[in-house]
Symmetry: C2
Subunit: 328 residues, 2 copies
């Protein structure tokens, strides 16, 4: 910076002012400074800036499994939004659900002096880890605990489940079975709740839930059970990969979708339209979630006070060909 100042014939402080768009710099001076910056290929040192201002242009993300479709999409969308706002994003992936590993990642971010933290770890243990965090760094959760009074953006999971379930009931199915994700995930638990509530409101019988994890493999296992229960005519799977596994199990058992059995998924992965048959599913707006999460976070950073603003985004039902009226 001093070199730039010398070349432009000004003091380093004037260079700093130009860089930060201070109002009181003569246009001609600013031009000279900019020319010097370009000539020397100078780049301000963020570390020094962070040191003196006490705030970095770095945002930390804590995510549970960034190779899953949902977290990966959220992460990508968030990074894009943050970059547009001039922030870099540091990721911290967690393999396990336990509080210790989540705390460790948060600590790492804190050490980097991030300006704010987003937690994409929709499980109770993550929420608990955050409770025990004594820090003044702003943070926001994505798909966090809706019961906790904390700033966050969530997809309205219950609404999504409601949409799927109602859609199936309206097609004439007497009830809808549900294959769940891991229930320690809020996503999974809330989908169960929305599904169950919709059935009750409609006066339909509530069949036992069929537990699984998020994988196609577990969907396949559960699908083999489903294929053996004659009364099942409609299934709502907690995500699209589960639905894929179910689809194959049914196929192997000679059950046709949608003729013998209707199926709805959740997430709308890019491939869902190319399953056999194309999958009717519920689409959350990951981009909107990420964008709002960033806004909430930047709001807290600028205001300097924690907020408890909550935002809940409605997903939409995507109709394809995996649903029909029940067989006789």
């Amino acid at each position: 910076m001093v070199d730039v100042a010398r070349l432009a014939g000004v003091s380093h402080q004037t260079v700093s002012r130009v860089l930060n768009n201070h109002p009181n710099v003569r246009q001609e001076t600013a031009r000279r400074v900019r020319a010097a910056i370009a000539e020397l290929n100078y780049r301000p040192n963020r570390a020094a800036r962070a040191l003196v201002t006490g705030r970095s242009q770095l945002l930390g993300v804590v995510a549970l499994n960034t190779s899953l479709f949902g977290p990966a999409s959220l992460l990508t969308a968030f990074e894009g939004a943050a970059a547009a706002a001039g922030f870099a994003v540091s990721v911290g992936n967690v393999a396990n659900l336990d509080r210790a590993s989540i705390s460790a990642v948060v600590e790492r971010h804190l050490g980097q002096r991030v300006a704010g933290i987003v937690v994409i770890a929709p499980v109770a243990s993550a929420a608990a880890a955050l409770d025990h965090l004594t820090t003044d760094v702003p943070f926001v959760t994505i798909d966090g605990d809706p019961e906790r009074n904390r700033a966050g953006v969530t997809v309205n999971q219950a609404l999504g489940a409601h949409l799927a379930t109602r859609y199936l009931l309206e097609r004439g199915h007497s009830t809808v079975w549900h294959v769940t994700g891991p229930l320690e995930w809020f996503d999974a638990a809330l989908r169960v709740r929305g599904w169950e509530q919709t059935l009750r409101d409609a006066g339909a019988e509530v069949p036992p839930v069929l537990p699984a994890d998020w994988s196609a493999a577990s969907g396949y296992r559960v699908g083999q059970t489903i294929a053996r229960i004659p009364e099942v005519t409609a299934v709502f799977a907690a995500n699209d990969h589960l639905a894929l596994g179910i689809l194959r199990a049914l196929h192997e058992h000679g059950k046709r979708v949608p003729e013998d059995l209707s199926l709805v998924g959740f997430d709308d992965v890019p491939e869902a339209g190319y399953f056999i048959p194309p999958l009717t599913t519920v689409r959350p707006d990951f981009h909107a979630v990420a964008r709002h999460a960033l806004e909430l976070l930047l709001g807290q950073i600028e205001a300097g006070v924690p907020s408890t603003a909550q935002m809940m985004l409605p997903p939409t039902l995507i109709e394809r060909r995996s649903v029909a009226a029940p067989p006789f």
Copy 2:
């Protein structure tokens, strides 16, 4: 740090020494310092450390589309390895292939004073953008241009394509058709090369390539063409999502896999085993790639000199049920 020093009754420098595991600190002193650190909940300021040492504990990643399966897996694996080595990872996602946006992301990382950069952007324009980079920051490419003499780790794409093609030929198919990814991706181009070479070596006819992007949607489109060409008995798709789209198109046209037509994919996405039928595919070892990329990068950082070490990792063929002998 000064507070910690006061509480422990030492100078701030001794605290620094304890933090950096300097050898010459009395055990008793170190214990007192650590106690003080714990009591005050002190966390060293990375920005200050980066400022004085000139090197951060931050690694930058430039990736092309982190919501695609390959890049997302690579990113996650890399982050895990980096975290284990005490490095944080800052992601920079690029939407477009043009040099300007890639340079912009690299510049962002440089501004953050990253200690090194990994580029997961397996396209020519990314490689070109890096050529024009005048910087002394170490960097490593993943799946970069194999012709450029630059430090990097790649999957042996040609070998993977060879494995898939040979496997099909050995089953008795007279030739193998190939659905490609976007050819500006090295991955795609190299798979084409490996496929073509294998056919030539076997004296088989080389059919025209069927171009697509990486998506199931484009696989579906190409699949509709394939279904109309009677002579096709074996297809090698450049990735699993393409294969999924092809599978559905064939299904709609009443072509059975593998009875009428055999299909092999690439990537081994977690769902590939649950396609209808389960997909035979080629699996790259993303974890190994990421681990080696990190090693290469840390090697350069420690040595202080750029390296041009190249590493190429062999993928493996995963046999499932989408391949059979050709029909009569």
